[in-house]
């Protein structure tokens, strides 16, 4: 694997190898000797054109655990403000000695474009409404660790799926791993077509009880999600995981959310903080997943 641009088309064995490898890194992180030198001498540059805290930190921590040198680029401190083109910016980062780029950008397909322009391995850290592959893999790892297996898990992805790169990444990879996905949301926030052939539901209450995983998404106001709703409170009433809906979940069901969460909108406090919540495990599993992806991108091991 040279970089990771998309999960689309990746086979089950390839995806499972990534999860297996991440699980080994996870064990390493739990042990006393957390650091390795697999990427010693390698410069990993995080290139984030959109704001991010957790994803960038997670990538930088993963790179550090592998012994890589980390450079960090953000547009507000750069020549982009002086009108430099995207292409010139990434060519400069390449010339500065980057060996691998971790790219987040508001435009779909930009990581692939950057890979073509620079010839470097590129990891997609979120491209517009496209995908967020390492989040999807971290979520798959979280579910696999919790349930022991992914095959046959009934997962509801709830909310603004149309505008969610996380949801889209899940749709490309999780069915390949045997997860049975139902998309649940108002018609205005569902994808405009269903090339994945997954089940679609517009009534959360009728779907609620049959789910093993409640995967909640926030309404992406910055990508226009709110225009598909009369109001946030109307959304919360129809699709929010409220106290009363929480009590109707199957006892073994879990609650997941890629963050940042909007308490009182898509999720109530009791759901976010309760024993069924895997939200912090998702964050923790992001680090070994990103170690795996970075190492694989550089052909380590």
């Amino acid at each position: 694997m040279s970089g990771l641009l998309t999960l689309r088309g990746l086979s089950r064995p390839v995806l499972e190898d990534l999860l297996d490898s991440a699980e080994r890194y996870g064990k390493q992180l739990e042990g006393r000797d957390k650091e390795s030198s697999e990427l010693a001498g390698i410069t990993v540059t995080t290139v984030f054109f959109e704001p991010s805290t957790r994803t960038r930190l997670s990538f930088e921590k993963a790179a550090a655990h592998l012994g890589a040198h980390v450079m960090s680029f953000s547009p507000e401190t750069s020549s982009l403000e002086k009108g430099e083109s995207l292409r010139d910016t990434v060519l400069t980062l390449s010339a500065l000695g980057s060996d691998l780029l971790v790219v987040r950008h508001g435009g779909v397909g930009v990581p692939g474009l950057v890979a073509r322009w620079t010839g470097l391995p590129v990891v997609n850290a979120g491209d517009g409404r496209g995908e967020h592959p390492t989040q999807t893999l971290a979520d798959a790892l979280t579910m696999r660790k919790h349930f022991g297996a992914l095959e046959g898990l009934r997962m509801g992805i709830i909310g603004d799926i149309r505008n969610s790169r996380v949801g889209r990444g899940h749709l490309w990879a999780l069915p390949t791993l045997g997860v049975d996905i139902t998309l649940i949301g108002p018609r205005t926030l569902l994808p405009v077509a269903n090339p994945w052939g997954v089940r679609i539901e517009t009534d959360l209450d009728s779907a609620l009880e049959g789910l093993d995983v409640m995967y909640l998404l926030r309404v992406q106001r910055e990508r226009g999600g709110a225009a598909g709703l009369p109001s946030v409170s109307a959304y919360a009433a129809r699709f929010g995981l409220t106290q009363s809906r929480l009590s109707r979940l199957h006892p073994s069901a879990v609650i997941m959310h890629p963050g940042p969460i909007n308490r009182g909108v898509e999720i109530c406090d009791a759901a976010a903080d309760g024993p069924s919540s895997l939200i912090l495990e998702q964050v923790a599993n992001g680090v070994p997943i990103r170690m795996t992806v970075l190492a694989a991108a550089m052909g380590a091991k």
């Binding site: 292409r87 950008h105 435009g107 779909v108 409404r129 995908e131 505008n163 405009v192 269903n194 090339p195």
Partner: protein, 422 residues
């Protein structure tokens, strides 16, 4: 004197093997030619000689955006594509909305001289959609087609007044780029499976269809001649079909790329497949091919829209809309029409000439007809690798095409001759 020998000649009666003699700006003889001393001889080797092609929808980007194209490179691209006349769209910078702007393009086109460049005038002043443009002045200067191409006239009241006004100018036609901006804002490709796959906002078919439905109602109300530009959906086809059946004076065009490609081609997110209207579904494409055959769609028009490499080598959502088409149109149309020469010259030459009022074009090759001609070899395969156009944003770049323009004759002069041994 020019003699074209060994051609299959498109005459009133159909394809006939003959030699054709051209003197001055006229075809003077079609038949068996013996004497050829002093004449320039073109060996057709079985290629088809027909009326020069006519493209009623091109963007020459001149004035204002001449890094993309100019009148001279656009003319070269046109003749290399077999065209003897094109209609230049008015969305230049500044827009062509006045006599002065029309005359400037017409005069400079005449200096280049290798192809007839008719100018379409804007429907509204500065293409702002607020007030009528100077129709009388532009009409006087020869303009027959009026369009705000690139935008619809959103204000229905204004469009109704425009249509009523243009009814008084014989031959004038309102050409509409059908796009309801409130339905396409933020969109970059057809709203459908490919848009959903990538998470890129779509341009729904209905954004085109609501405008066409409105325009047909306004045309019926006012009696104006209406031409629908770049039809792209099955729904649009059925709206136009119904309007034609009811006797409305409506015509329409389809682009070569909509005839050959569907939205699956956009899956690569190559900006050379990004244009408006977007490539639609396979079913839409099929409906367009059938509509071109049955005459619901009258003409093929390229919407030749040059953009530089740098402008297109950007993220898909940031890339400008539009692809070039002049140099590949004949090949694509020939294939779409299954090599039916009669339909080919009707849709590529005769019908577009009638729509735009270009009476020196689109006639069968007969003694006395104007020598605006194309020599087209339908059997020759080729791959477009470079273009006479200043831009190369073609969806057919590097792909294999069948049918090649061998020569173009404009007003009795050979303005283009391809390399026969290539």
């Amino acid at each position: 004197m020019i003699i074209v020998k060994g051609a299959r000649v498109w005459r009133r009666s159909g394809l006939v093997e003959a030699a054709v003699v051209i003197e001055g700006d006229r075809v003077v003889e079609v038949g068996t030619v013996t004497a050829s001393s002093g004449a320039r001889v073109i060996e057709a080797r079985g290629a088809i000689l027909g009326p020069g092609l006519v493209d009623i929808h091109v963007h020459l980007r001149d004035p204002g955006q001449t890094w993309k194209e100019d009148i001279s490179t656009g003319s070269m691209a046109a003749v290399a594509g077999g065209f003897t006349a094109v209609v230049a769209m008015p969305n230049t910078a500044p827009p062509i909305d006045s006599v002065k702007a029309v005359k400037e393009v017409v005069d400079r086109s005449a200096e280049v001289g290798m192809v007839d460049i008719a100018v379409a005038g804007a429907l509204t002043r500065s293409r702002e959609g607020l007030e009528m443009a100077d129709f009388d002045g532009m009409y006087e200067a020869g303009v027959r087609m009026f369009t705000d191409d690139g935008d619809s006239v959103a204000d229905s009241g204004l469009l109704r007044r425009i249509m009523a006004y243009l009814c008084d100018l014989p031959g004038a036609v309102v050409a509409e780029h059908a796009e309801d901006r409130s339905l396409t804002r933020g969109g970059h490709l057809n709203e459908g499976a490919v848009a959903a796959s990538h998470g890129i906002s779509g341009l729904p078919a209905v954004a085109e269809e609501v405008v066409i439905a409105r325009d047909l109602a306004l045309a019926a109300d006012t009696g104006a001649r209406l031409h629908i530009q770049h039809v792209s959906t099955a729904g649009s086809v059925s709206l136009i079909k119904r309007a034609k059946e009811s006797g409305l004076a409506v015509t329409s065009e389809v682009t070569p790329h909509h005839l050959k490609l569907d939205e699956s081609a956009v899956d690569s997110l190559d900006p050379n497949f990004k244009m408006y209207p977007p490539l639609r579904t396979a079913a839409d494409r099929q409906a367009l091919v059938e509509a071109l055959e049955d005459g619901t769609v009258d003409a093929v028009a390229t919407d030749h829209a040059p953009h530089s490499v740098a402008e297109k080598d950007v993220p898909f959502e940031e890339a400008p809309r539009g692809v070039i088409g002049l140099e590949t149109s004949a090949s694509v149309a020939w294939e779409a029409l299954n090599g039916d020469a009669g339909l080919f010259f009707e849709r590529m030459s005769a019908a577009p000439s009638r729509i735009a009022g270009l009476d020196r074009h689109g006639q069968p090759v007969e003694p006395g007809s104007v020598a605006n001609l194309v020599l087209f070899d339908p059997d020759r395969s080729w791959k477009p690798r470079s273009f006479y156009s200043k831009s190369s944003n073609s969806p057919f770049l590097g792909t294999s095409l069948t049918g090649m323009v061998m020569a173009t004759i404009h007003e009795g002069s050979v303005v283009y001759e391809g390399d026969a041994d290539e």
